[in-house]
């Protein structure tokens, strides 16, 4: 086979491979929104993080503004400390609140941030104090049964009178 034809085919093959890799990075993995933009980290303390995972999205008004970068247990506070990497394009006031919410059919958990009214903005390594934990189904059922039982004993005692 002529050398030029050979080069042409191999060139085509290599180009195809590179285009495929680019497609994987841009279309499949969406490197554009996930990758390396500048972030700042803030922390939140939760009683219970439920099924929250590292890399779970952080959303405000439904828009992804960052990702969970670390989840640790703090033995002194007896709380879970969640580190959140927020995109520097998005600024939140110091009195913002964080809550763990559930989305989708598979029950993927994410963090919702609700902005506050303070004029001071969150800086690197700040802590968000207003947090609400994940809803744990067992606890909810327990509370429901407990309140139901309390109601019934109340109404039972009023009848006896």
């Amino acid at each position: 086979m002529k050398r030029q034809t050979l080069d042409l085919w191999v060139g085509l093959f290599v180009a195809l491979g590179i285009v495929a890799t680019a497609f994987l990075s841009l279309q499949v993995a969406n490197i554009t929104t996930l990758g390396g933009g500048p972030v700042y980290t803030v922390y939140g303390e939760f009683e219970n993080v439920g099924g929250l995972k590292v890399r779970a999205p952080v959303k405000s008004a439904g828009v992804t503004v960052g990702r969970v970068s670390d989840i640790r247990y703090d033995g002194d506070l007896h709380k879970a400390v969640v580190a959140v990497a927020l995109d520097t394009n998005y600024q939140f006031s110091t009195d913002s609140s964080m809550s763990i919410l559930t989305s989708g059919i598979l029950g993927e958990q994410y963090i919702g941030i609700q902005g506050g009214s303070d004029t001071e903005m969150l800086q690197e390594d700040d802590v968000i104090w207003l947090t609400s934990s994940a809803l744990v189904l067992e606890n909810m059922i327990g509370q429901f049964l407990f309140s139901k039982a309390a109601e019934e004993s109340d109404s039972g005692s009023t009848k006896q009178e």
Partner: protein, 269 residues
Amino acid sequence: MKSLSSVIAGFLRGLGAPVSGALIGLGQITRFLFALLAASGTCLRRPGLVVREMYFIGVLSLVIILVSALFVGMVLGLQMYETLQRFGSGDVVGMVVALALVRELGPVLAALLIASRAGSALTAEIGLMRATEQLSAMEMMAIQPLSRVVAPRFWAGFLSVPLLTSVFNVVGIYGSYLVAVEGLGVDAGTFWSQMQNAVDFRIDVVNGIIKSFFFGAAIMLIAVYQGYQAAPTAAGVAMATTQTVVRSALVILGMDFMLTAFMFTGLGS
């Protein structure tokens, strides 16, 4: 007094031919790898040699890669959709297929296909060169067969496997897109956005490509080694070719488990 090393060697021989034979084979292939790396300078001086082999290993494997990937992707899309639909979450089919392909199926299946399509051909080619004394003739002309014949094939294969794997992944995902979106009516936007949310570039895509580099090196090393040391007879070449495919398949699958355990464990927390 016997030295410690001779005691250990005696013990290993005492375990029988299968064990000592396997260890000797492992030692020989390691020695072969270093000889190959030492002889690889020619590839840089004469890149034409590598390009020529990339045509035979890479370009000519494209057809089987494209067709298999399309069908693998289509079948994955179909099966996943059927199962996920029972839980009312048929929409995530794109994410499941993309993760399965990029992390595991793409690198492994592409490597298996290349081992059978190109690895066996390499072994047969080099084995026949040995059997027909072409390699000896080269040595007579003061040409190192290792640097002129073996090294270009090894490097060409090493570079081709990741490229073919990427092509395999993309075509597989396109196959599942055809089935899920065009065939079963999943929304195209949901298909891609679910995928983009779940597939991480560094963890999934890059690790998949790293895997395929390992597989490429393993397949090509086995193929050229088997060809180079094949018995110079028709039966010897036949056996070496069979051994290439069998060993490549076993090494790929075993290595895949180890690489996966190394790369992907501890990510779920």
